[in-house]
């Protein structure tokens, strides 16, 4: 048993609908439940699947369009699951000033990816992010939720490949 971002119990098995309904049940009666539900859905599935949107809409008595609008507004909600390691490179002004662009170019070239791409073996996804708020220790990246500061391209590649 695992707990989602907002504490919902992540049922690892069952149909997509049943799993989404379980998440909705956890948030029943909560005001403004959409974002917490979406976080838990993404935690459960690695993304917000298109097929989950009608279930969420019906559960929260919203239209499908409203849920779709919210999902697409936030870059963090994905339509496909990310790779096993998800690297986010900060592209805020401070990081750019400290060479984040060159760092990103090298990391993307190393994995032969465009922004938001995932390697063919499903190991690594590299995304941009604005911004991690670590301006004083730029350039900064986030790997699977953990932040790392004053990194070099080599460090980012090592982290992405599972090193520490």
């Amino acid at each position: 048993m695992t707990l989602g971002y907002h504490g919902a119990i992540m049922t690892p098995t069952g149909s997509l609908e049943a799993r989404v309904l379980a998440i909705l049940a956890h948030h029943a009666g909560r005001e403004g439940a959409l974002l917490p539900v979406l976080h838990d859905v993404q935690a459960a599935f690695g993304c917000v699947p298109q097929e989950a949107v009608p279930v969420i809409a019906k559960g929260l008595n919203l239209s499908r369009a409203e849920v779709h609008g919210v999902v697409t507004f936030y870059h963090d909600f994905r339509s496909e699951p990310a790779g096993r390691r998800h690297v986010r490179i900060c592209r805020g002004e401070a990081c750019q000033a400290m060479g984040a662009d060159a760092l990103a170019t090298r990391v993307l070239a190393h994995f032969r990816l465009d922004w938001d791409g995932t390697t063919s073996d499903g190991a690594v996804t590299v995304s941009p992010i604005f911004c991690l708020g670590l301006c004083s220790v730029a350039p900064a990246v986030q790997v699977d939720g953990a932040v790392h500061a004053r990194v070099s391209a080599e460090v980012v590649i090592r982290l992405a490949e599972g090193g520490t």
């Binding site: 919203l62 499908r64 369009a65």
Partner: protein, 946 residues
């Protein structure tokens, strides 16, 4: 600039007692507190540029074009989101704002195709207007960068196109869909430069939740959402204000024209019933007026199995008149009758009943309200004293508790439903009493507090149980009852409802509604503030239809929910002019204004005006006419605008009756089912082709204006007049306004109604007379029309239509949004994309027991007959209940319905039929026979040489 456009003030008007004084560009203004600077300026003729603002929507503040400078304030605030303040000094044209506006426009135009000359919105585009208004002269950014110019258009909706390449992402469509229509089918997908309007989950409009009301199209300032009729034909050049001819909401429209061609129908902002909104039918489904199947020349034939042949108007009228004369001489004057139409104007209806009473010489006139709201007329007249709803539609804005009984407003009365949903989103509570889980029970942002999913036919029991709770728990408004109602009748009623069979626990067993839900709903209705009841044919079309109407009236009186805005008893009337046709004396026992034919004084006034002696005996109702025809006593009928064979219950009985008549004259747009039994067919005119008035469900009389020459040659009132003249009864009107003059002179509640006043006021709600010269929005204030309100005993008597081993399920019927009644008009429009066939809704439990899967053909059988259609398996209906619509003649739903009817008014019990459902593989024998018959009886012999 669109020459037809109504003035747009940018933000909604505000009502306030306090006025605020400000100066805009040196002009002193005084406007209600809360008004935006944008609106204040625009009302004074100072047109601050704008794109994302329109006065049907709350200010949004996204386009940054309406920026102004305000003395003493920093920066350049958006005038749409800035409320006026006392002493404010606003400058709308300064070098600073001019530069800002030009720069903003430059950015918009840098991602917009520069194809104005060939664009469908050329001449009707706010972006184009604003580029001119801000003096845009160059676009420094070029068009080489990232843009949206290659995005493909979505043509899926039959009536409008969505072309995202022209979208400026102002959100007007998204907000219109949410705030005005309440469907929430649109969103802005993505963010920043990637923001785009998306329907549903970025799918086609047709596949999304969109209901095609067109509010988004109307709100769009560019060609992004544009009517296909405009794309094909060009922008309109003139507009004529008229009234929709579909449902009883009575939306006011501006018919936007090029010459005599309708380009589009745009709901009028000034329309007091619809306030600028419409549904898919009114806005888009008017193509039937020019449909190739419309009959434009009169037809006659000697026998109904002969083919029709075309004749001149003179010959057709002379033939009909000579047949009516022959029948009268042979079988007596009572052998003739007529049916008025709730689709036609007041004036036309008035003439048809006048023809029957004065020229036929009897009172055998009835109308299609017989089969819908006749129990409303009887029930409300008995309890309140007048046969009409008590409120205007605006009243819903002040309701705290809304009760919907036996109605499906989002499908049947969609524009009013949108207003109701606005109020529900503001926090009003909702009680739905309906066997089926209609959309209002739960749809985005609307959730009923109680859904009493009662067994069909048990309305009266449930309403009595609610009354029981109200009396038992001392929730009666005794001050209201004492001062406004008959106390003896109240006391008798109070002891009646307290009888044990009316207790919620007892009624729960009868109705299937849990006692706790009945109790909760009753308490909410009685204690939740202003409580308003809206009901439809699910109340009236029962053997106890009138009883249920009176039970509703009892509840409203007992709780004091009468005689002020926000409360009342509101029948949602089905047809555009069903209120009017009843008002005009279409019933066999009543003259105009609901006065009984036996009243010598009333009849005397008509005798004097019409130069005849009217019969003091009530005539035959439609079912009586049909029975008399089968008995050989009723031989000739003139039917204006009603398809009795398809719409009345027990089709086989109706067909037999028509087959027994010697002269059936059908006056209609199309060869309908009834025309298969007709000897004379008189082509009718559409609402676009005539002048007159319709009266909507809130008693609002509104003008219908001719926008094109009648393609059939005559307006309908002229055809009835020709018929009267051919029967040697003089009728000489040059214009419907003269008919209205006669109606006003003969009808006290219409005394003050004239075309001049209608033109001046826009519309008038009757009664309109010396005491209420501008009409009456809310009735029964301060006293009831009949003096004191009268409580009626409403004992529940189960219908004789019972389920049993052979017919274990209960069938109930209804309508869907895209289609209208028997579909004569809507089936001849692109609305068929939303409804290709009638289907039978059946609960998964009942379907499984019978081995029925979704989409299977099933046979639907009752004691009267059988038909077949496809099944839709859904838990929207309760186990034991099945549901279908009746929009298509192939379905022949009324082959199944029975002749049980309301005890007081003969309104058929359409809403309850015991049936069995079984799998089948195709059409029933009746459907095949009917198809052959319809085919062979609708042949038209074409004249050689034409």
């Amino acid at each position: 600039m669109n020459r037809c456009a109504e003035k747009d003030f940018g933000t909604p008007g505000v009502v306030s007692d306090r006025m605020v004084c400000l100066t805009v560009d040196g002009v002193g203004l005084s406007v209600p507190e809360g008004t935006s600077v944008l609106r204040a300026a625009r009302e004074a003729g100072i047109d601050i540029p704008k794109l994302c603002a329109t006065d049907s929507l709350e200010a949004f503040g996204s386009c940054r074009l309406c920026v102004v400078e305000i003395e003493g304030r920093n920066g350049t605030p958006a005038s749409c989101t800035t409320p006026v303040a006392d002493g404010m000094v606003v400058r709308t044209q300064t070098p600073l704002v001019a530069r800002l506006r030009r720069n903003v426009m430059e950015l918009y135009v840098s991602d917009h195709p520069l194809d104005c000359l060939t664009c469908s919105a050329n001449g009707d585009c706010e972006l184009q207007d604003m580029a001119g208004a801000v003096g845009l002269r160059e676009v420094r950014y070029g068009t080489e960068g990232a843009n949206h110019l290659d995005l493909p258009a979505d043509e899926s909706n039959p009536y409008f196109t969505y072309d995202p390449s022209k979208c400026i992402a102002c959100s007007r469509c998204v907000r219109a869909c949410a705030d005005i229509q309440g469907t929430f089918a649109l969103t802005i997908e993505g963010r920043g430069f990637a923001s785009r309007v998306a329907a549903g989950q970025a799918e086609s409009f047709l596949a999304s939740e969109c209901v095609s009301c067109g509010a988004c199209v109307q709100a769009c300032p560019t060609a992004t959402l544009n009517e296909k009729s405009v794309i094909e034909n060009g922008v309109p050049e003139r507009a004529v204000t008229t009234t929709c001819a579909y449902c009883g909401v009575g939306c006011s429209f501006r018919a936007e024209m090029r010459g005599e061609q309708v380009i589009r129908m745009v709901p009028s902002r000034d329309g007091k019933a619809n306030h600028g909104h419409s549904c898919v039918k009114g806005r888009f489904a008017w193509g039937y007026a020019t449909h190739r199947e419309r009959v434009l020349k009169p037809l006659i034939r000697a026998r109904t199995d002969d083919p029709w042949h075309e004749v001149s108007w003179e010959e057709a009228i002379a033939h009909a008149a000579s047949e009516f004369r022959r029948i009268r001489e042979k079988y007596g004057r009572l052998s003739l009758g007529g049916v008025t139409s709730s689709r036609c104007t007041n004036e036309e209806t008035f003439l048809v009943q006048k023809l029957v009473r004065a020229a036929f010489g009897n009172n055998n006139v009835d109308t299609c309200a017989r089969v819908c709201h006749s129990p409303t007329g009887y029930g409300l007249k008995t309890t309140f004293g007048t046969s009409a709803g008590t409120q205007d539609f605006d009243s819903v804005e002040q309701a705290d508790v809304i009760v919907v009984i036996g109605a499906n407003p989002t499908d049947g009365h969609p524009v009013f439903a949108s207003r109701m949903k606005q109020r529900l989103r503001e926090g009003a509570r909702l009680i739905v009493i309906d066997p089926r889980r209609i959309d209002l029970v739960r749809s985005p942002h609307v959730q009923a507090d109680f859904h009493l999913a009662l067994r069909p036919g048990t309305n009266v029991a449930v309403l009595a149980a609610m009354a029981h709770v109200i009396v038992r728990d001392n929730l009666v408004d005794m001050d209201f009852v004492r001062s406004r109602c008959e106390m003896d009748a109240f006391s008798a009623w109070a002891s009646f409802v307290m009888q044990p069979e009316n207790a919620p626990e007892a009624v729960a067993r009868v109705s299937g509604v849990p006692a706790a839900d009945i109790e909760g709903a009753a308490r909410l209705y009685a204690t939740g503030g202003n409580a308003a009841i809206y009901y439809g044919l699910g109340v009236t079309e029962h053997s106890q239809g009138t009883t249920a109407v009176m039970a509703i009236a009892n509840l409203a009186m007992a709780t004091g929910n009468m005689g002020r805005p926000g409360v009342g008893v509101n029948p949602l009337r089905g047809q555009n002019n069903v209120q009017g046709s009843c008002d005009m004396g279409s019933f066999p026992h009543e003259l105009a204004g609901y006065r009984h034919v036996s009243d010598d004084a009333v009849r005397g006034a008509f005798d004097a005006m019409w130069g005849v002696r009217l019969d003091a005996e009530p005539g035959l109702r439609i079912p009586n006419m049909l029975d008399a025809a089968i008995e050989g006593r009723f031989k000739g009928i003139y039917i204006q605008g009603e398809d009795i064979v398809q719409s009345d219950p027990n089709t086989r009985h109706v067909a037999e009756a028509f087959a027994a008549m010697e002269c059936v004259v059908v006056h209609d747009l199309f060869l309908n089912e009834t025309a298969n039994y007709a000897h004379v067919f008189l082509p009718g005119s559409t609402f676009l082709e005539k002048n007159g008035t319709f009266t909507n469900a809130e008693r609002r009389i509104q003008r219908v204006r001719k926008v094109m020459t009648p393609r059939n040659g005559h307006e309908d009132w002229q055809i009835t007049q020709m018929m009267a003249q051919a029967l040697d009864y003089p009728m000489h009107y040059d214009h419907p306004s003269q008919i209205m003059t006669e109606i006003s002179a003969l009808t006290p509640s219409f005394a003050g109604v004239t075309y001049e006043r209608l033109d001046a006021l826009g519309s008038i709600q009757w009664p309109c007379n010396a005491t209420a010269p501008e009409g009456t929005p809310v009735m029964h204030a301060p006293g009831f029309v009949r003096g004191k309100g009268r409580f009626m005993i409403t004992a529940y008597v189960p219908t004789e239509e019972r389920t049993g081993p052979r017919f274990p399920l209960l069938l109930t019927t209804g309508r869907i949004l895209s289609q209208y009644n028997v579909g004569v008009q809507t089936r001849r429009t692109a609305n068929v994309v939303w409804h290709k066939e009638d289907v039978l809704e059946i609960h998964p439990h009942d379907a499984e027991e019978r081995g029925i899967r979704d989409g299977d053909w099933v046979k639907l059988a009752s004691r009267e007959g059988e038909t077949s259609l496809r099944a839709h398996v859904t838990d929207r209906v309760a186990p034991g209940v099945v549901y279908t619509t009746f929009h298509r003649p192939e379905t022949q739903a009324n082959v199944v319905t029975t002749e049980h009817s309301d005890w007081a008014t003969n309104c058929p019990e359409y809403k309850v039929t015991a049936v069995q459902v079984s799998p089948t593989n195709g059409l029933t024998q009746w459907q095949k026979v009917h198809d052959d018959f319809a085919h062979s009886h609708a042949r038209v012999e074409t004249v050689a040489g034409e």
